[in-house]
Amino acid sequence: MTGVDGLLLSILVLPFAGSILAAFLPTAARNAAALLSGAVALAGLILVALLYPAVADGTAVRGEIAWMPSLGLSLVIRLDGLSWLFSTLVLGIGALVVLYARYYMSPEDPVPRFFSFLLAFTGSMLGLVLSGNLVQLAFFWELTSLFSFLLIGYWHHNRAARDSARMALLTTAGGGLCLFAGVLLLGNIVGSYDLDRVLAAGDLIRSSGLYGPALALILIGAFTKSAQFPFHFWLPKAMAAPTPVSAYLHSATMVKAGIFVLIRLWPVLSQTDEWYVLVSSAGLLTLLVGAWAAIFQQDLKGLLAYSTISHLGLITLLLGLGSPLAAVAAIFHVVNHATFKASLFMAAGIIDHETGTRDLRRLSGLYRFMPITATLAMIAAAAMAGVPLLNGFLSKEMFLSESLQRHSGTVIDQALPVLATLASAFAVLYSVRFIHQTFFGPPPTELARTPGEAPRWMRVPIEILVLACLLVGIIPAMTIGPVLSSAVRSVLGDATPSYSLAIWHGFTWPMLMSLAALVLGTIAYLRFGKMLNRTEGAPLLRRFHTRRIFDGALAFTASAARVLERRLGTRRLQPQLRLLLFVAIAAGLLPVMRHGYSLGGMEGTVVDPGFAVIWAVGGACALGAAWRAKYHRLTALVLMGGAGLVSCISFVWLSAPDLALTQLLVETVTTVLLLLGLRWLPQRSAALAPAKGAAFPFRRAVDAAIAVAAGLGLGLLAYAALTRAPPADAVSRFYMERAYPDAGGTNVVNVILVDFRSFDTLGEITVLAIVALTVFALLRRFRPAPESLGLPAQQRLQNAYDDAQSGREVGDTLVDYLMIPRVLMEWLFPFIVALALYLWVRGHDMPGGGFIAGVTMATALILQYMAAGTRSVEARLRVQPVRWIGIGLLLAVLTGAAALIVGRPFLTTYFSYLDLPLFGRVPAASALLFDLGVFVLVVGATALMLIAIAHQSIRKPLSRAGES
């Protein structure tokens, strides 16, 4: 990094560093924050000044830091005449604003935050003007929007500030997104985002098919930022910001960002009809509308705001005209406007500060209270009005002379001189009104306090700025001349025209137009001045409330979005499932439609009559369950059990004994589980059903169609697959070949589960564990519906009977009911346990395995619960399912992890045959241990789920106070 690079970088880094520093200052550290900010701004200014020699001749210096090189995106800091000029403005006026703000801000405000935002904004603005890369430009552009939002909304307890901050943000950031898109298009046309390369590719850009969209997008960005009509509405609203912010944002920085981009890209975008039409008409409209509206403002800052709009329109118009001389005028006016507008805002702030009001109608005769401020304001206002010997006059004269040129040969050329004069007259009118109503006339009567001069240091910034106005106005060539020249040359390069900066060019048309405007404006004020105080809003524009349109648009967006969200989305489950199934069916169908449905040529197996009978039963059960599930839950449950049994039988038929066993056991447990749940569900019967809506049959028809389509689809897919030969080299061949030699098991299915793909099993038992834990956690907070809190009807009747009968106690019916079954079920318990152990041990070789064994064991446990009741079982058995889950999981994991100790991959099984004395050859597979983990976990998880639900019945409701 060279020295210049370092300098460039520090210009950019300084404000941000200062901002972060300021953010961490204590809330009361007013002076420290101001001092820090001022120092940063001044330091930046000095750095920029030091670099002037490098750019004086119109060339650029660059510093580059790689950022995302593969996307062609680097952080390029590029300083040339134009950016030097803008940087100086940003930093110079920034320093003055800091000084001013130190006195302006109230001690109650969290001032360090203000300065932090201000510095960050300064940095963003510098980043913008110093960008040597289009993406970087958009990047800092959005940052300025962001920080201006924070600055405008600084007094966020104030509703107006919040609203206007949001409006500014949405307008400018939205425009920023357009600009972003635009520069991306530009980059796409050029093939690089680098500014130098883009600037060198003007012809390529203008001839590209993407020129139109790119131009439009960039212009939207620039116009929103620079408050061009019709995007101007945010700017007057932004006056809710503290005055230093207005002074900064609306003179030298924020609004000039749009102008800056227009100037920056002027060489490559202008010189086309599109540019001319869009830019100059927007500028002209803004110029007139802004000036016209400014006349009718009653708020000091509002007047200045509209005047700003108008001046921005002027600059835009100049740029739109497309001639190099107009561009020079535009750049010149940027500087002039910044100086006089900043000072005017500051003066307005002082007036507000001292009188407590900004209402022109209530202000009067302040000259006698604050003569210095008044004088300064008058000079600045004169500059704004374009009075000779002031800088505003010079650039305005350039503008007027440009307006006389022919640019397009259309009617605009003829109208332009008149309109320019008219706009100038407006400017004179509002400037005169500003000064006269504020400082002259009788002393004010309705003020809360007696105004006086502002503190000495608060006036200094204004004094400096006004001095600049005067100096530039009187000796332009010696002051602004060289700077302007380097800026102009950096933009226009070889096309730089010759121009002269002088006060006096003789009695020319522009001079006459200026004079005419001055006279016209003054007369108009004298004639209509009083009337202006009585108006509310500008005539002609009054009905055109962009602000209201904006708010309305936002509100409409929100409500339209809500309507659309309801239309396009839903929060109900049924439509979601309908869509889900529909999409799935469609997805499955599309490839079939494309390739055609075909059956394979494999010869099928002969239909077994028994199998067909069984499936007739199974299908009937499934359909019956679907039919009855609404009002006859128990029936549906029983029918589903039938369907499950059928699928279990088919697994047996189709040579999958493991599946049959598993399905069977799971079936049983599921039945018990669902039955446990039934107790807590509300009674339903067809008699109580609510009336159905008109859409009801239609929805049922749709559902039926989806159901049939899904069934048909899956059935056809299955059939298509079944008629095809299986893939020749399926991986399962390996499993069958290696199961016994390598893994020591003859039941390939089980070997896959505990060895080849034991990782799946580990995941599967984890799911089981998680679900069990979730069920357990959920049921701890379970609160039944009030009507199901009591005993079921059967129990109440039976208890009542027991109670009424002499010689019986409550509960006798139950005891009698279960007496015999309980004995039998108790004695079955050890046998089922033995069976479970058997199923586990033999799993590796024959159907069985940890899961099957675990469910069997859990069933044994559940039988005990059913026979003896929860309390009785738990008094006798140590039931700790959560711990079992933990142990099982740990066992499985540790068995798998043991392989790691010897450097084998996780879950590598150890297998060999041991020759034990008594036993003979005994297989010793670590997979068995893994399966034990599965076994223990499954027992725990299954038991936990069932028991957790069962426990709900024996919980004791809290006796509530006040209830008998």
């Binding site: 006798r876 058995l877 008594l918």
Partner: protein, 162 residues
């Protein structure tokens, strides 16, 4: 011994089951079966069942034979009812059977016998009154049926369980 092997008969049963399951008499399976049997009997002990209190085993074979014969006979009887044209005069109904036996295990076996025999089913039992309600498919003479049942099943069971 009691603590090591709480239910020796049960353990034997489990061992037998294990051997049947594995279809092997190898020493390895014997040991494994023994382990399982001990585990199983401990599981049973944890449930703390009432003591069976078998008093005599002599009547068992005779009872078994009677039961088997009855099952075969009633199978045929029920099959006839199902298959052939049902007699219109056939009545089925509930019979109230007062019992003398009190042993839970005796009652359990009785329940199994009655229910396993086609044509009769154990429906309801009142512990305090010691009365049993049985549903009989082909009820000709309730009193005779009661007498026969008490004689054929209850007496030997009372001999066994007391």
């Amino acid at each position: 011994m009691k603590r090591l092997l709480p239910h020796p008969l049960l353990a034997l049963g489990i061992l037998l089951m294990w051997l049947l399951l594995t279809a092997s008499l190898s020493p390895g399976q014997l040991v494994l079966g023994a382990i399982v049997a001990v585990l199983g009997s401990h599981a049973m002990a944890a449930l703390q069942p009432e003591d069976a209190g078998i008093r005599s085993v002599r009547p068992i074979p005779r009872l078994a034979a009677i039961v088997f014969a009855d099952i075969v006979r009633s199978n045929v009887a029920v099959a006839r009812i199902v298959l052939l044209r049902d007699r219109p005069e056939r009545v089925s109904g509930f019979v109230r059977l007062p019992l003398d036996m009190r042993s839970r295990y005796g009652l359990t076996v009785l329940a199994c016998i009655i229910t396993a025999t086609p044509g009769t089913i154990w429906v309801e039992f009142d512990r305090r009154a010691n009365v049993l309600v049985v549903h009989v498919l082909d009820l000709v003479d309730p009193d005779a049926w009661i007498r026969e049942t008490k004689h054929r099943y209850e007496r030997p069971l009372m001999e066994i369980f007391g």
